[in-house]
Symmetry: C2
Subunit: 109 residues, 2 copies
């Protein structure tokens, strides 16, 4: 019985530096196939495919076949939640330590 394979969340998807690099390159250079994405790294093709799968399951990339290539592109709408979450802490790197920060905080949950 295969145990349900829970979908990976966005935070852990971007926790890996290789996946961040993949995302950044896709954003900078647009669609890429697996071999192209693989090239700058010194890891195996299956390793990259695994990373791409995790990114896809986290909703961070999408892909489609074109001939015998599979093209990947960024689909980063789910990064918005990360952006929003991190923004709660903006006052900690902004100089202005306004007591206004307290207002942000009802967003808890």
């Amino acid at each position: 019985m295969t145990p349900a394979t829970s979908t990976p969340d966005v935070y852990s998807a971007i926790g890996d530096p290789t996946r961040r690099a993949l995302l950044l390159r896709l954003a900078a250079e647009g669609q890429k196939n697996v071999s192209e994405l693989l090239e700058p790294f010194s890891i195996s093709q299956p390793a990259i495919s695994k990373h791409l799968r995790i990114l896809r399951e986290a909703g961070l990339v999408r892909s489609h076949k074109e001939g015998r290539l599979r093209l990947y592109e960024v689909e980063a709408a789910s990064l918005r939640q990360v952006h929003d979450w991190v923004s709660h802490f903006e006052r900690y790197w902004d100089q202005k330590l306004d007591a206004l920060g307290d207002y942000l905080d009802r967003q808890e949950r």
Copy 2:
């Protein structure tokens, strides 16, 4: 031979939902001691202490003793890099495909 215990990076530190909840609460409610932080969770005190250590080593909290309590507070300057990184992808959730987005789109090989 114990292998040097590399300092955890910010991305993996916030990859865990418990640690995100801790950070959010500290930001919302200010200083808290370990027992207070522990209370909403159904995990052990050592587990929380471990999370707090990881947050501390990632530069996300700091602490000081006060009597027999140890008070933790947010120290989230290092979240700025995350915020900046995520911002690279803003155009993927903004409706407005600004000039930068258009420019990048045309670079597609």
